[in-house]
Every structure is written in structure tokens, then in C-alpha cells.
């Protein structure tokens, strides 16, 4: 059996995206490099095949997904509660995704409106999660996006979010001077960078 075939079967059978690290754990008889090469071959194979399924990298792992062009046909059979997002939900999600870790007050400052309801809906949908509390008076909760966010939006990681058009700010005074922004170019997972005084979870 070729290594590509083994990897293919694992990814096919897995419920959620399978990361290279996980593959290494599972296939300890092979070198990481070998796995990388075989995985690459597999990706190329599916790309060139131009078939109904694609092998895509989402949320730090690999997963088979149907081609977006076939949506119309697949939807005839698969009945999902379609991922519907109101403009306010998308706006809020975008702000959280690009500015995380971020508090609700900061989101509201950027949007100019109360965001409690929207954030709660996003939390319910598990697209947003609580990262911890901020060490400022009032200890407000800080929010960030979740793994599900990457899965639903088909993103490899936060770095692959579409880049924002540069804001040519009139002056360089930093926004809200309270916290460090998460640079969009940075690859590290946001949650490792922040101090978490308690286990993240609903208050």
C-alpha cells in the first residue's frame, strides 16, 4: 500500500480536519518528511483530477470537501440549516477575527452600536469564543474566533484571512491604546499569547 493511499484513507474516515501532526502520531513508522511528500502528492492528485471533491486545508488540518461549484446539486440532497449571517453578524465576526483578542466595548466602539446580542449569537454558534478576561478595571471578557470559525469559513488559519485594505489613518495614534493588536501576519495561535486567568468558558 502506498503511503498516499494510507493518508487518503485516514483523512477520508476522519470526522474533522486531520493535521499533519496528528498524521505523524498515527503513522509513527514513517518519517514526517515522507508524510509531507505523500500528502503533497495527494493534494496534487485531487487538484489535477478536478472532480467533485477537493482536499483542502482548513483549521490547521486536511479535509475532503465538495467543490463549491457543485453546491446546487449537493444541496438537493443535503439539508443543512444553511449558514446564514446577517450583515451585523458578519461585521462583528470580521472585527473579532481581525482584532482578536478584543473586548465587547472595543467591538462596540468600532461598530458604533450595542453588540451584546450579536456576540451572544456568535458564541452560541461557536464561531466566537471567550479567551479570558482582560486585566483592566471591570475585567471584561475578551473574545476571539474559534476553530469552528476557520472550518465554516474554509480558512487554513487566521493568517489566511483576506487582508484588509490599509487604513490610511489621518494620524498614527493607535486605536484604543489599551491592548496589543494581533498582527495579521503573525502565525501563532492567538490563545497562546494571552494570559488566561481562568479556564475559558461561559461566565
Amino acid at each position: 500500500m502506498s503511503l498516499s493511499a494510507i493518508i487518503e484513507s485516514l483523512i477520508f474516515a476522519a470526522e474533522s480536519p486531520l493535521s499533519l501532526d496528528r498524521l505523524c502520531d498515527l503513522l509513527q513508522e514513517y518519517e514526517r518528511n515522507q508524510l509531507k511528500v505523500s500528502l503533497g502528492e495527494l493534494v496534487v492528485f485531487y487538484e489535477e483530477r478536478q472532480g467533485g471533491i477537493q482536499l483542502v486545508e482548513v483549521a490547521g488540518g486536511w479535509q475532503f470537501r465538495t467543490s463549491p461549484e457543485l453546491q446546487e446539486y449537493v444541496a438537493r440532497h443535503i439539508r443543512t440549516k444553511a449558514a446564514k449571517f446577517s450583515p451585523s453578524a458578519l461585521e462583528t465576526l470580521a472585527i473579532i477575527a481581525y482584532r482578536q483578542p478584543i473586548t465587547r466595548t472595543e467591538v462596540e466602539y468600532l461598530r458604533g452600536v450595542d453588540c451584546g446580542g450579536v456576540i451572544k449569537t456568535l458564541l452560541d454558534k461557536k464561531l466566537v469564543r471567550i479567551l479570558g478576561k482582560k486585566e483592566i478595571p471591570g475585567r471584561p471578557l475578551i473574545y476571539g474566533t474559534s476553530k469552528e470559525f476557520l472550518e465554516v469559513f474554509g480558512l487554513k488559519d487566521l493568517k489566511s484571512l483576506p487582508t484588509l485594505k490599509e487604513i490610511q489613518a489621518l494620524d498614527q495614534t493607535p486605536f484604543l491604546e489599551l491592548q496589543e493588536e494581533l498582527p495579521l501576519e503573525q502565525n501563532s495561535a492567538p490563545d497562546n499569547d494571552i494570559f488566561l486567568p481562568f479556564e475559558a468558558g461561559p461566565c
Partner: protein, 267 residues
């Protein structure tokens, strides 16, 4: 009946069709400001604050005339605009060393607008991606993992504008009466209408707005029904939803399970 008009293009086209008031559902004051800037083809970096402030206040007045509740955020922005406007009228005191950088009182607002615009666009961009469960599917997934929990996305959030819309559509259908019936026969009370609706809802789980008024398509009936529904909604006795944007508006009895969700939200 008609609110006083001025020659403002923004308002006059809103009123051009008699009672045909078009209310875009703005996401907030910044969204409204962006809309005004775009509509007037203004340079966002050099906003004529007097023009914008006037149009903004006109819009708020329009909302007031329609008896829509105006969110505090809109009023806050109105006061910010007025504050900026008044600061711009004052002569610049060059001796003052307090804030040498912020010479333009509009700077912060403009920065916020630019930033907001950016995230609004980013929202559209990510919303246009091929979403799991919408455009792409994984193997054997009947529902995408993360969306399983919440079936009805905030059914009450957009309703006010939608209800006003439905209300207008219905009113448009009522034949114009050419005379006024001075001695109103049996006038209809909101309480009666509430009771009627509730008893209907006991028989059936689901009714839509048209059904409530189809037997008696008069202006009075429609208005009273509309008010009754708003009241029922306020009392959390019914839930309002649509199957699709601009679709029919349906009502169903509220279920107690919603209360537990509310409780959670408060925590």
C-alpha cells in the same frame, strides 16, 4: 399627516411616493453616516460636517415621525456630530498647547468611519466565501458541526423594519376610501384583536399576517392588528419569523424554552 418636507434630496426622495417611506435597516450610526457620505458622493476624509449633521438629524427625525424607537447609539452620534460642528465654528486658538495634534475636530470621527468601512467590507468578503454547509459540504454531514446548536438566528432582531414593511404592503392593498365614516360603527379594540389572535394561535401553530386581516381588509383592521402583534411581541407571547428575506411573516406562539435561553444571556 405628512411630515414637513424640506428640499433635502435625501428626504424628498424618501417621501416621493406619498406614504412610501423607505427605511434602510442601518447597522448603526456609523453605517448611516457612511450611507449619507456615499449618497452625497462626499470625500470621507473631508466631510462637510454641517451637511452631514443636518441630513443625519433629518433621518433621526424621520425615524421619530414614524414612531420608531431610536437607539441611544444614534442619539449619541447626533450629539457627537453637533459637538464637532460647534467646535469647527470656534476660531482656532493657536496659543493653546493642549492638543497640538488634534487640530481637526473631525479627525476621530473620520478615523472611526474609515475603520468601520474597512470591517464592513471585510464582513462582506468573508461572507462571500464558500461556507461549510452553504456552498461546500463534508462527507456525510447533515448539518455543519457548529451551526447545529442554533436553529433560529435571532428571530426578533430585524423584525421591526420587516413588520413596518408588511404593514405598508397591506395598507397599499386597501382601496382608498373616498369619504370618511364619521360615526364609526363597532370600533375594534387592540385587546379584542389580541384575544382573537391568541385563540387562533391555539387552534393552529402557525399563521401569517395576511390571514389575520384577510376577512376584513380595512385600514382600521390592519392598523389594530399590527398594534396587537407588536403588543404580543412585547409580552413575549408570540414569535415572529420569516422563511426567507422579504418572505411572508409568520407568527407562532412563543414557547417557554426560550425563557431559559434568555436567562443564560443575562448571566
Amino acid at each position: 399627516m405628512k411630515p414637513a418636507l424640506n428640499d433635502d434630496p435625501f428626504l424628498s426622495d424618501a417621501f416621493s411616493g406619498g406614504y412610501n417611506v423607505h427605511l434602510d435597516a442601518f447597522e448603526g450610526p456609523l453605517d448611516l453616516l457612511l450611507h449619507l457620505i456615499r449618497k452625497n458622493e462626499l470625500d470621507i476624509r473631508d466631510i462637510p460636517i454641517a451637511v452631514i449633521t443636518r441630513q443625519y438629524l433629518d433621518y433621526i427625525k424621520l425615524m421619530k415621525d414614524l414612531n420608531l424607537e431610536i437607539a441611544g447609539d444614534f442619539l449619541l452620534m447626533a450629539s457627537t456630530l453637533l459637538h464637532i460642528k460647534s467646535r469647527m465654528l470656534l476660531p482656532l486658538d493657536e496659543q493653546e498647547e493642549g492638543e497640538p495634534e488634534e487640530t481637526d475636530p473631525r479627525a476621530e470621527l473620520i478615523r472611526r468611519l474609515l475603520e468601520y468601512q474597512q470591517y464592513k467590507e471585510a464582513g462582506l468578503v468573508i461572507g462571500a466565501r464558500a461556507l461549510l454547509g452553504r456552498e461546500v459540504f463534508t462527507r456525510g454531514a447533515s448539518e455543519p458541526l457548529s451551526l447545529r446548536t442554533q436553529g433560529d438566528d435571532n428571530p426578533l432582531e430585524l423584525e421591526l423594519f420587516d413588520l413596518v414593511d408588511a404593514f405598508r404592503t397591506l395598507l397599499a392593498r386597501v382601496p382608498v376610501e373616498s369619504f370618511h365614516d364619521v360615526a364609526a360603527g363597532d370600533s375594534l379594540s387592540i385587546a379584542d384583536c389580541i384575544n382573537e389572535t391568541l385563540s387562533l394561535l391555539q387552534e393552529r401553530e402557525l399563521i401569517h399576517f395576511d390571514e389575520l386581516v384577510c376577512l376584513d381588509l380595512t385600514r382600521e383592521r390592519i392598523i389594530v392588528t399590527f398594534l396587537a402583534l407588536l403588543e404580543l411581541c412585547r409580552l413575549k407571547l408570540i414569535r415572529i419569523f420569516q422563511n426567507e428575506p422579504h418572505g411572508k411573516i409568520w407568527f407562532m406562539p412563543a414557547v417557554s424554552r426560550d425563557d431559559s435561553i434568555e436567562g443564560e444571556a443575562a448571566g
